[in-house]
């Protein structure tokens, strides 16, 4: 049972790290736009250095 002396503080430390992570994410504004964040996760990544700026103006749907 002496193992508790290590395991319990370890478990609480892990929980504490989780809490810190949550507070950090809150502070950095990750909860400000929950709808947008849901979509950003599945959005295609921007191809690096792409600069085909205005070649398809016909795609401007209203």
């Amino acid at each position: 049972m002496e193992v508790l002396v290590f395991l319990v503080p370890l478990a609480i430390t892990l929980g504490f790290i989780g809490l810190m992570g949550f507070l950090w994410s809150l502070k950095s504004g990750q909860y400000d736009d929950l709808d947008g964040a849901a979509w950003r996760a599945i959005a295609d990544d921007e191809p690096a250095g792409s600069s085909n700026s205005q070649q398809n103006p016909q795609r401007q749907d209203p």
Partner: protein, 730 residues
């Protein structure tokens, strides 16, 4: 578009050489829009960040100062098909957002503590029955205390603060029994732990805090969202004024940048965004948004102009007055203040419940203690049992019963185009038994429309609409709108005060005053039938037609009045407009009770009179003259086109061309009130079951934790039905 908007008022400087601009953007509603906007704007050189907020429909831009003109962003967005407006976060909105954030932070801390304590509690619960050593149990209890005490001290602050302020005002709210329960549970657990006893209630206390915080966060988040949306609406209305920065030079500036003493220019078709006095020019002005009077008046130098006034024919220079100088406004503000004071008498359902609840529960705990003492138990055991009663009755379910329903119902209202201004509005709207409508702008649409469209051949109508595009006169604008004209005719010239003219297929084409088009007879014939209408004549060669332009009733107004009657609600019209106009509208809608030419004072008197006879009145109005009545009524609503002051005192604002949100709001509120009462009864039943167990001294920490979360979940699930029912009806 000659003078573009001056953005300098909206720019912020977040750091060295950077500029920041917030835009409210219309039409962002999918992930595709978000990606398109961000990709396009980031490509502009010098833009360091472009980030869309999909929840709030906003765009935050940052760029290096000097090289880029902010107006370019708006143009680029317009090319992409989005209308964008610069936007300034209102103080109230920042506050709501900060409060939501702080609740979420506290919820995170409480949830962390609850989870970790649960990890320690489960071995204790199961070990108490089997072979756990007392030293191990004490170790776990001390660890729980170490986690819970600081977490509770931090996360329960909103309850403590609210309970404290209620007690200081010598009243009781729901947070008083909550705080008492939390503090006693923690104190007793600490004492028990120190004396090596079996039971500690750290887990139940922190779980209670986490549940209540979750309910409050959801409530606050809904409020924040509504507020953000209202902020966008204010920005989309794009309240700007054309200000003289020198004798000759004008610039379009946001209304917040206008100060008393500034000179602004009002052109035909524009609505004044300020109060002031005319110093130069002559024009017909339409004050229907303010007084309800639909007949235009003449403004000359010296006349007062109020915000919301529409200029019809001429150009005016107006010297901006401080709000207190304008007599009408001063009168309205005074009435408003009195009305708002009397409104605060309303006692919320939650307050009434807690006034009953706290004394009953605390008396029950005291009786338990005395009972056990008389029965011969030790003082320690009696006190522990009494505190267990307090813990088990701690109004977790009761504290959630009303906010949870409120959150779900205001979400449902939001979905059907009603924005709530105050939280208890739902309870009040549910009890309404009489609706008073203002006429102008409420039963009717705020914009003018062509009344005799059916009598005019379609090709003539189309042509007239295209000609009308050349004029900024509101009556001509109504013709263009009704004809859905998009392409203006070339070479049309405007003769101020008369109309517009040009040539088409070798024939002269004219649109304007009947005399200007030689159509006086036709016009007089129409005016004799419909004296309320404004007329505009159209001549193309020899053909001549006259359009009767007037305010049109909202398309579903009659249906809504009928629905309200079905709900058992009486409907009445109180209008500042003249009698014939009010009578026509009331008759068309099947409303038998109406009053015309009512002043703001009379409106309040009528509402007070009804209130004295026990009626609960919902006032629906938009004008400045309605503002005191809106504040005096039991509950109130305003269309989104309403004057600022009316919107801010109304309990709710509804969007769109339809009147249907008024009936929907009453319907949803009634359902929500039923659910609130159900939830309160659920909480009462829970207490009736749990209290005898606690009084008998049989409550273990396991039972306390289970009973608390069980009742909270039950109440939450019941609240969600407010939403489920809504879906069925859509």
């Amino acid at each position: 578009m000659s003078s573009t908007l001056d953005f300098s008022h909206y720019l912020k400087s977040p750091g060295a050489g950077l500029l920041h601009l917030d835009l409210a953007v219309e039409g962002i509603n999918c992930a595709g829009c978000m990606a398109k906007i961000e990709r396009n704007l980031s490509k502009i050189p010098d833009v360091t960040s472009a980030r869309v907020n999909l929840t709030d429909h906003r765009l935050a831009l940052e760029w290096r100062a000097g090289s880029v003109d902010p107006a370019m962003f708006v143009d680029r967005l317009a090319e992409l098909g989005y209308r964008a407006y610069p936007f300034e976060r209102a103080g109230a909105e920042t506050q709501e957002a900060e409060r939501a954030r702080s609740l979420l932070r506290r919820l995170g801390v409480a949830a962390f503590a609850a989870m970790n304590v649960m990890m320690l509690s489960i071995p204790v619960w199961s070990g108490n029955a089997s072979d756990m050593l007392p030293e191990q149990r004490d170790f776990f209890h001390w660890l729980s205390a170490l986690i819970v005490l600081p977490a509770a001290a931090y996360s329960a602050q909103p309850f403590f603060a609210s309970a404290w302020s209620a007690l200081r005002a010598r009243s009781v709210n729901m947070d008083v029994p909550i705080s008492v329960g939390i503090v006693l549970a923690l104190a007793m657990s600490l004492v028990e732990t120190a004396s090596h006893a079996d039971h500690a209630y750290f887990d139940a206390a922190i779980m209670l805090i986490a549940f209540l915080l979750a309910g409050r966060y959801l409530d606050q988040n809904m409020r924040r969202r509504t507020r953000a949306f209202a902020g966008n609406l204010a920005a989309l209305k794009a309240e700007t004024a054309t200000k003289f920065i020198s004798d000759e030079e004008i610039r379009t500036v946001p209304i917040a940048a206008i100060k008393p003493g500034d000179i602004v220019l009002l052109r035909p078709g524009e609505r004044s965004a300020v109060d002031g006095n005319v110093i130069e020019g002559r024009s017909e002005i339409d004050q229907s948004l303010i007084t309800g009077e639909t007949r235009p008046r003449l403004a000359v130098p010296g006349s007062a102009v109020f915000a919301g006034t529409q200029v019809r024919s001429g150009v005016l220079r107006v010297c901006v007055a401080a709000a207190s100088e304008a007599t009408l406004l001063a009168e309205i503000s005074r009435l408003l203040e009195n009305a708002l004071q009397s409104r605060s008498h309303y006692l919320r359902l939650a307050e009434r419940a807690s006034r009953l609840y706290a004394p009953v529960v605390h008396a029950a705990a005291l009786l338990t203690m005395l009972g056990w003492l008389l029965y011969g138990a030790t003082l320690h055991d009696s006190v522990v049992t009494a505190i267990a009663v307090l813990i088990i009755t701690c109004p977790c379910a009761l504290g959630l019963a009303i906010p949870a329903v409120q959150t779900v119902a205001s979400g449902a209202l939001f979905g059907s185009g009603v924005l709530l201004n105050s939280g208890d509005a739902i309870e009040r709207m549910a009890r309404v038994d009489r609706v008073i409508f203002d006429k102008t702008g409420t039963l009717t649409l705020p914009e003018l429309d062509v009344a005799n469209a059916a009598n005019i051949p379609a090709d003539v109508f189309d042509l007239a609409g295209r000609v009308a595009l050349a004029s900024r006169h509101p009556v001509a604008a109504a013709v263009a709108r009704a004809a859905a004209a998009k392409s203006p005719l070339p070479d049309i010239e405007e003769e101020p005060g008369h109309g517009v003219h040009g040539m088409l297929d070798g024939c002269e084409i004219r649109l304007g005053r009947p005399s200007y088009c030689g159509a006086d007879e036709l016009a007089n014939e129409i005016l004799s039938r419909d004296p309320e209408a404004s007329v505009v004549a159209f001549r193309h060669g020899e053909t001549c037609h006259v359009f009767a332009v007037r305010q049109r009733l909202r398309p579903d107004a009659a249906a809504v009045v009928e629905t309200l009657h079905q709900y058992g609600i009486a409907v009445e019209v109180l209008s500042g407009d003249r009698e014939p106009a009010v009578r026509t509208a009331a008759q068309a809608l099947g409303i038998h009770e109406w009053r015309a030419e009512v002043t703001p004072v009379d409106k309040i008197a009528r509402i007070d009179d009804l209130a004295r006879h026990g009626f609960k009145v919902l006032m629906v109005g938009d004008g400045l003259n309605d503002a005191p009545a809106l504040a005096a009524a039991y509950a109130s609503m305003s269309p989104v086109s309403a004057a600022h002051i009316s919107q801010s005192v109304a309990d709710a604002v509804f969007l769109g061309e339809q009147l249907a949100p008024v009936a929907t709001a009453i319907d949803i509120s009634r359902k929500a009130l039923r659910l609130m009462q159900q939830n309160l009864w659920l909480a009462v039943v829970y207490n009736a079951l749990a209290v005898p167990v606690a009084v008998a001294g049989l409550v273990t920490p396991l039972i306390a934790a289970a009973a608390m979360s069980g009742s909270s979940l039950l109440v939450m699930l019941n609240a969600l039905r407010a939403r489920a029912r809504k879906r069925e009806t859509v």
